[in-house]
Every structure is written in C-alpha cells, then in structure tokens.
C-alpha cells in the first residue's frame, strides 16, 4: 500500500507543462452573452397553499429561472368566508362578532372600525371613558400583533429563539384581553355607542405591570436582532419600495411608512381621542424589509407611550351612550321602568335602524388603514358592507416586489408584508 508521500512524488511536478504545440484557429467559439443564451424553460413552482411562511392559506405561483424569481402570481381566496355577505343578514349589533374574525390578530381594532362606521351612519356620541377603553384595547392589540409578526417573520428567517420571546410577551396581552372581555382573542368588546363592559377591578394595575415590563422586553428583542449581521443581510435592500411606488401601489400602514410616507390614520384623521395623546409616527427611509422591521418595533414603543398616557388620564363616567334607542338599558332599570323593558325588547329582537345613506369609516390597524364602507337602505341591517382590508392592499404589489429576487428572499419579503389571510380573503 502506498503512502500519501509516495503518491505525491509519483505525481507530475508542478510548473508549466510541456509546451503546447501551436494550433491553428480553433473551432468557432460559442456566442456568449445574455442575448445568445438559449431560451430556457422557466420552472413554475407552487409556494403554498400550505407553506409555513404564508401564515395562513396563500398560494403563490412562482416562475423561476434557477434561483431567480421572474414572475409571481398570488392566488388568494382560500380563507374566503363571505363576511361581507354575512353582514347583510345580521343586525348592526350582531355584525360586531363578524368583524373580529376577519383580521384575527387584531380583533379589537376591527371591532372599533366596524362600530365606528355604524356610529358615523346613525350619528351617536361616544362617552370619553369608552373612547379611552377603546384606545387601550386597540394599542394592546397593536403590540400583540407586532409581537406575533416579529416572532413568525423571524422564524421564517431562522430566528427560532425570537419566536418564543415574542409569544411569551404576546401572552401578556391575551391575558389582559381575557380579564377584560372573557375571551383571549375574539373580544367583540365594542357596542354601538361605547363598549360592552367597564374595566374590571385590578385591570389597570395588571396593565401597568405590562407597560412597565414591556420596554425591557423590546430592548431584549432589539439586542438580538437590530444589529445582528445575519438579520441585516437577510433584510437590508430586499423588497424595497420607493415612496412614490408605495403610494401608487396603494400599500398602507407600516409598509407605507417604511417607504417614508408620513401617513398614519391616528395622526392624520384622529379618532377615539388620539389627538390628546403624544406619540410619534415612525418612518423608514429605504422602504426595504429592514425598515419595515424597524418601523414596527418603534411603533410598539409608541403604543406603550400611548397606553401610559391613557392610564394616567383615564376619564371616569359612563362607558356607553345613554341613548336608549341605540344602547341597552342597564340591568337595574329593567325591574323599575316599563319603558326600559320596551327599549330592551326592541333592541334585542329587532335592533335599531339607520338612515338611508353610505359612509366610510376607517382606523389604523397594525397592518394599515382598515376601512368599512357601509351602505344603508334604512333598515336594521347593513345593505352592503365593504371592508377595505389593509392586508389585501399590502399583498397586491407582491408580484412587483419579488421579480428578480432570489427564492429565499421571497420568504423575507412576504414576512415583511405582515398580511393576514383572514383579512385578505374575508
């Protein structure tokens, strides 16, 4: 058996080999360059509908040239449940429970958006305490939704530990939801003219503990990701959208703001008393996936600021309007007043009627502008309810964003969009 050294010796010594015989002109070279490349067949790849990074049931048909994506077509509708049709068959109060289930990661914001459209139609005043409770629930939902986004978008790119941190922190919000409404996710806590219940005893203290603990937890997250070179490489410069393109393609929410467009419904068209609270609208510069991450993390900090201000200035008083044509009378009145019993019966059996007309009410959901276009024909049910879902608008430019990127970057781009398929499909 020969040793390694012998093998080496047996080889030809390095150096210029024997002089080549001069040849004549060789065979004609293959023409070289992109214009001469043969027409390759593109590979069509189905991503989804059960792909983990689609966060729901989304099918994307990708046309691949090697690892490069040439074209994409998003096939949505797998979670289409016909909520818009269902709204037409339920009274305004019954419709509240549908609104939760569209964007199932921020149900309180859907609740508020829906009742705001009804309140705008019938013109009812909402008491200050109800407004403040709505703001509390909405900002909690925003933090929970961004936490979940952070966890799952990180998971898609390999940040496993982040997922557990994010879900631990989101659990705190779900606990608060549960102790207020009895339900962890589908809160259905709004009523036309206010909210269904006052805050329970001890809830504000529980919320204060949450507000105190969260900044440190967000710091932990940022320490793990914000300056992480792998996180930078995966996100920076990927899926960039300029401000003009962002407006043109109609994206909304953090995607719009990451491109540097200063538009937040809470600032531009304050509702529920947002004008009283001092907070910033975080903006990005490049509009890439990394900026979307930064915008969302900073939004969580701003939400905490709003929560603290609401806790400090929480008004006392009624939490639902005293207009008996719209809101149920309190239990205590039912045994004393015949009129209250009649109102109660009418509201529960028939509901209230709205005037003829159409309104559009909109709120800032974690994903952007969530709008409800409500058409009333004067009955106790919406004649037509069109939802303007932010995820739908944010998913639309997917085709444009993924053209020319690597297949692995599609995961990063889809993650950065933060779409919820229940919201897209309704």
């Amino acid at each position: 058996m020969r040793s390694v050294a012998e093998t080496r010796v047996a080889q030809e010594p390095f150096g210029p080999g024997p002089a080549q015989e001069p040849f004549g002109p060789g065979p004609a070279q293959e023409p070289f360059g992109p214009e001469h490349e043969p027409e390759t067949d593109w590979v069509e790849l189905n991503m989804g509908p059960q792909h983990p990074s689609t966060h729901g049931v989304l099918r994307v048909r990708l046309k691949l040239d090697g690892e490069r994506v040439r074209d994409a077509d998003a096939d949505v509708g797998y979670l289409h449940t016909g909520f818009e049709k269902s709204f037409e068959e339920k009274t305004y109060t019954q419709g509240i429970t549908f609104s939760d289930r569209m964007d199932y990661l921020a149900p309180p914001i859907n609740n508020v958006g829906f009742v705001m459209s009804v309140e705008k139609l019938i013109g009812v005043e909402v008491p200050a305490r109800a407004q403040a409770i709505r703001v509390l629930m909405m900002e909690l939902a925003r933090i929970a939704s961004h936490e979940l986004w952070l966890g799952t978008a990180g998971l898609d790119l390999g940040v496993y530990s982040g997922f557990f941190y994010a879900w631990r922190d989101r659990e705190l919000v779900l606990d608060l939801n549960e102790s207020y409404s009895g339900v962890r996710m589908m809160t259905s806590f709004t009523r036309v003219g206010g909210v269904a219940w006052d805050l329970p005893e001890g809830w504000i203290e529980q919320l204060q503990r949450f507000i105190d603990v969260m900044p440190g937890r967000i710091d932990d997250f940022e320490a793990m990701l914000t300056d992480n070179p792998i996180w930078h490489q995966r996100l920076q410069g990927i899926g960039a959208l300029s401000a003009q393109e962002a407006i043109k393609t109609g994206v909304t929410g953090p995607m719009l703001r990451a491109s540097g467009v200063d538009y937040d419904v809470r600032k531009a068209f304050p509702y529920c008393g947002y004008e009283q609270y001092d907070f910033q609208v975080p903006l990005g510069v490049n509009g890439d996936c990394y900026d979307r991450y930064r915008v969302r993390v900073r939004e969580m900090r701003e939400s905490l600021k709003i929560l603290q201000q609401v806790v400090d200035t929480l008004p006392t008083g009624p939490w639902i309007t005293s207009d008996r044509k719209v809101a149920l009378p309190p239990r205590s009145e039912l045994s004393k007043s015949m009129e209250s019993v009649i109102h109660h019966f009418r509201l529960v059996s028939e509901g209230f009627k709205g005037p003829v007309g159409d309104v559009y009410a909109f709120v800032e959901s974690p994903r952007g502008e969530l709008g409800f276009y409500l058409v009333s024909d004067g009955t106790n049910k919406p004649y037509r309810m069109k939802v303007r879902p932010p995820s739908f608008c944010n998913l639309q430019p997917l085709k444009k964003l993924v053209q020319g990127v690597l297949l692995a970057d599609v995961i990063a781009i889809m993650g950065s969009m933060d779409f919820i398929l229940g919201d897209v499909d309704r």
């Binding site: 269902s86 393609t249 159409d358 303007r388």
Partner: protein, 165 residues
C-alpha cells in the same frame, strides 16, 4: 370648492353630488368616469386609491352602483366616485390606468358582483375558484343552503334523485 370646480368642468358628466356625514360623493356618467378620475388625480391631487366596490339594487334601473374611493394624502381629503351599470352585462371602464392599485379591487368586484371593467389588464376571479358559477354578493344569490326537492315535488324534467347525485 371641489364640487363647484368639478361641476364647471364636467357640466354634462357630473350627474349629482352629495355630502353625507362629511363624506363627499359624486355620481358621474360611466362614459366620462375615467376623464373625471384623471382630472382628480392630476389637478386635485387625489393620489391614493382606497377601494373599489359595487352595490346591487335589484329594483333600480340601472341595477348596479359602482364605487371607487380615493384620497389625497397631501390635502387630507377623500372623494367617492360613483357610476352606474345596468343589466344584462353590467360593465364600466377600468380605473387601473389612473390608479394601478385598483387592480385587485376591481378583480374582486368582478368576482363577487359580476361587474365587467372594460380595459382591465387581468380580469380574473380573485377570491372564488375559477370554476365558480354566479357572483355571490348579488342580492339574488342565495348565500347558503342548496335546493332541496321533496318527494312530492318535481323540478322541470328532473327526478329528485338526479338532483341529489
């Protein structure tokens, strides 16, 4: 005032305008709706597309009201552009040339309400499967259940079992 400027410029096309609860709506002739939209985008700064949809009024003629709503991010104003489309083949011009973001919204409106958008680059069903029949958000579309024929009834030329199978 925006409505006055529109009225002066599009004397024929602008049918009516309303301001209900602070929401400005205009009803425009379907032939002129793209022209009005271009004016709104270029001269009045309505740069941000919100949504497109339609409302089905079976008793009216024309039956459908098609709605687009747009916003001016700079002026913080909104306007709802409405037009009408009648049976049997309701169709209106597309807005995708003016606001590209209208693409999916108009596809959805075609899918759920059966309004054809003339000139739309990619008018396919969006939410329902391609093989779906009918347009679910129309008022005459039954949203749940399936036709049941009882043993004492007979549908035109069909035995009860044939329907079940």
């Amino acid at each position: 005032m925006l409505v006055e400027r529109l009225g002066n410029r599009f004397t024929q096309a602008l049918r009516e305008s309303s301001d209900f609860r602070g929401d400005l709506s205009i009803v425009v002739d379907p032939n002129a709706v793209v022209e009005v939209a271009r004016y709104l985008r270029d001269e009045e700064g309505f740069d941000y597309f919100l949504y497109a949809t339609a409302v089905d009024w079976p008793a009216r003629d024309p039956r459908f009201t098609v709605v687009w709503e747009v916003r001016s991010l700079a002026n913080k104003t909104r306007i709802r552009i409405k037009t009408t489309a009648g049976m049997p083949e309701p169709h209106v011009p597309t807005m995708t040339d003016v606001w590209p973001a209208a693409n999916w919204h108009e596809r959805e409106t075609w899918d759920l309400l059966g309004i054809k958008f003339d000139g739309h680059p990619d008018l396919r069903r969006l939410l329902m499967p391609p093989s779906w029949e009918g347009h679910p958000l129309r008022k005459d579309y039954v949203s749940f259940g399936e036709p049941v024929i009882f043993s004492d009834q007979k549908l035109e030329g069909l035995e009860p079992d044939a329907i079940r199978g």
